[in-house]
C-alpha cells in the first residue's frame, strides 16, 4: 500500500484545506478512501452518530499536481483509512504558505498520513522576510540566500481492512418524493440557529412548486419560515424511472421529514464556501438528503427522519 501526493498550486492547497475543514466540522472521525482518480471522505450511518451519513467526493486531478497510489492489491486498487479530519485540517492550515505540500502514507509509530511542507524563506543578512510578508528589513550589506524551513505533521490513521469496505460504498440515490433547491445556506443557518433555541426537532417540508417550509412546534409556540420560488432540480429521466414522482405528484402537496435540529445545524455551520448548487431530496418521513455541488467537489449528507 503506497500513497504519495503533492500539491504545488497555492489555490489548490487553499481549496483542499477548506474542504478538509468543512469535513472536520461535520464529523469527528471519518473514512478516507483513496482511488487512482478520486478521494472520498465517507461517514457511514451508525447509531452512534445519529444515523447521519456523509459522502464527499473529490477528483484528485483538481487538487494534486502529483498523485501516485498503490492499493491493497491490483484487483482492489484502493486504500481505506480511518482518520480524524480535524488533525488534517490543523496540519494543512499551518502550511498555507508552502512552496509544495506532500501528503504521503507512512508508518511511524503507527500508520500515519504525513503532511510535509517546505516553506521557502529568504534571508537577508540573517533577517527574514517571508515572500508574502508585509515588511521588508533591509541591512546595509545584504547577502541574499534562500533557505527552506521544513514542517512535518504526522496524522495517525487506522487502516480499514478489506472485509469492512462494503460499509463505505457510495450511497445510492434515495427514491425521493421531492427534490428542491435550497435557499442561501447562510439564511438557512441563521434561521436554524434561532429555531434550535426553541426545539430539538425541526420539520422540513417542500413541494414541487419550489416552496419550502421550516417548522418547529412546541407546547407553547410554533414557528414556521416559508421560502418561495426556490426551484426544483430537473431530475428528468432519473425520476421517471422510479415510477415518476414528478408526474404523479401534486405539485402543491408537501412532503416532510422531521429531523434532529442539531444535525441540520452542524451541516450548515460547516459550510465555508457557497456551493455552485445546493439542493435537498426528501423522502417523506424517512430521510433528508442534502447535496452540495462545488466546482471540484461534491458533498452529500443524509439525515434520517425521526418520528
Amino acid at each position: 500500500m503506497k500513497f504519495r501526493g503533492k500539491i504545488i498550486d497555492i489555490a489548490c492547497l487553499n481549496h483542499f484545506t477548506r474542504v478538509v475543514t468543512t469535513i472536520s466540522k461535520l464529523t469527528k472521525m471519518c473514512v478516507l478512501r483513496l482511488t487512482p482518480d478520486n478521494l472520498f471522505f465517507v461517514l457511514s450511518g451508525k447509531v452512534a452518530n445519529g444515523g447521519v451519513s456523509m459522502w464527499c467526493e473529490l477528483s484528485q486531478a483538481n487538487f494534486f499536481d502529483e498523485y501516485q497510489m498503490e492499493g491493497v492489491s491490483s484487483e482492489d486498487n484502493e486504500i481505506c483509512l480511518e482518520v480524524t479530519p480535524e488533525n488534517l485540517s490543523r496540519a494543512l492550515k499551518t502550511v498555507q504558505n508552502a512552496k509544495a505540500v506532500k501528503v504521503k502514507l507512512t508508518k511511524k509509530h503507527c500508520p500515519c498520513l504525513t503532511i510535509a511542507a517546505e516553506l521557502e524563506m529568504r534571508c537577508v543578512w540573517g533577517y527574514i522576510h517571508l515572500q508574502s510578508a508585509l515588511r521588508t528589513r533591509i541591512q546595509p550589506q545584504p547577502t541574499l540566500s534562500s533557505v527552506s524551513r521544513v514542517v512535518t505533521h504526522d496524522v495517525p490513521v487506522d487502516v480499514i481492512p478489506r472485509r469492512l469496505w462494503h460499509e463505505f460504498k457510495e450511497p445510492s440515490m434515495p427514491d425521493f418524493d421531492v427534490s428542491i433547491y435550497l435557499p442561501p445556506l447562510k439564511t438557512m443557518k441563521n434561521i436554524v440557529d434561532r429555531m434550535k433555541n426553541l426545539s430539538n426537532f425541526l420539520v422540513i417540508e417542500a413541494n414541487l412548486n419550489g416552496e419550502m417550509n421550516l417548522k418547529i412546534e412546541t407546547d407553547l409556540v410554533s414557528v414556521t419560515t416559508h421560502f418561495r420560488d426556490l426551484g426544483n432540480p430537473p431530475w428528468g429521466d432519473d425520476a421517471s424511472q422510479d415510477g415518476g414522482p414528478s408526474q404523479s405528484r401534486d405539485p402543491e402537496s408537501m412532503v416532510e421529514a422531521r429531523v434532529d435540529i442539531r444535525r441540520l445545524q452542524q451541516f450548515l455551520v460547516g459550510q465555508q464556501v457557497n456551493p455552485s448548487k445546493a439542493m435537498c431530496n426528501i423522502v417523506h418521513q424517512s430521510v433528508l438528503h442534502l447535496i452540495l455541488l462545488h466546482e471540484d467537489m461534491s458533498l452529500q449528507y443524509f439525515i434520517p427522519a425521526v418520528a
Binding site: N87, R90, A91, T94, K108, H109, C110, C112, M121, C123, G126, Y127, I128, L130, A133, R137, S145, V147, S148, R149, V150, V151, T152, H153, D154, V155, P156
Partner: protein, 275 residues
Amino acid sequence: MNCVLEGNSIKAFGKAIHALSRVGDELWFDPTVKGLALRSVNSAHSAYACFLFSPLFFQQYNLDSVREQDSGPIKCKLVMKCVLPLFRCSTSIEHSVKRCQISVSTGSDQVIVQFFCRHGITKTYNVRFLESEALQAVFASHLCPNVLKSPARLLGDMVMHFHASQEEVTLSMSAPKVSLRNYNEGRNDHMKMMHTEMSLHPDEFDYFQAGMDSDITFCLKELRVTGLFLEASLLLSHENIMCAESESDTSSHVGNSCLRGHIAVLYSVLGIISM
C-alpha cells in the same frame, strides 16, 4: 519614586503587565537606577519574566522623591488582580488617557497610579503593596553553550504550527539545524496523537551558536506569552529576541530576552533535558 508615561508608552506598559499576569499572580515592582523592573514568577517557579523599562522609556523618571530616609531601593510586591484592571482596556487607554503618573509612597505602603485623561478627568488608584525581597532568576546566560538570536516574527512562526492546546514541546539544537516538535507524555492514546515537527535552518537566525547538541522540553504555553507582547508591539519598533539555553544538573532554562525601544524583556522557562 516617581515616573511619568505618555502616549504609546502607556499602552506598552499595559501590555507588559498583561503578559506578566499570564505568568504569575503577583507583580514585583522594582524601581532601580537602571530602570523600572516589573517581574513575575509562576507558582511552580518554572517560569519567570522580567520587563525592565529604562529611564529613557519614561517622560520623567525620578527615584528619590517621596522617601524621607535613604532606606535603600524599594522592593514591593503587588497583587496582580489589583493592578491588571487598571491597564485592562488598551483601546480606551489609547483614546482617553493622555498621561500616566506612577509613584511610590513608602509612608503609606502604596503605589499610586494616576491617569490624566481627556476632558480634565484624573483617575487615581492607590494600590497597597507588600515589602518583599526582589525577585531574580538565577542563571548565567553568558555561560550558555547554545544561543539563538532571531527577530520576533520567527518566534511566532515557530509556535503557529502547534495547536493552542499543545502543552509541551521539545527544542532540539544541533549544528545543521534547529527543530521544534511536540511532546506528548506517555498516555494510553499517545499512539493516536498527532506529531508535528518543524525544523529551521541556522541561517534564519541572527545569531546561532550550537555549542553542544541538546534536546530540551518545556511548556509552550509559557513561551507563547512572550510572543503575545512582541506581536502586539510589532508596529512600534524594531525588535530582537535572544533565546538562551544553559545546563545545570538535570534541569535547564530557556530564556528569551529582547530589546524593544527601551524595554528589555527577560523571560525564562524551566525545561527538561532529554537524552
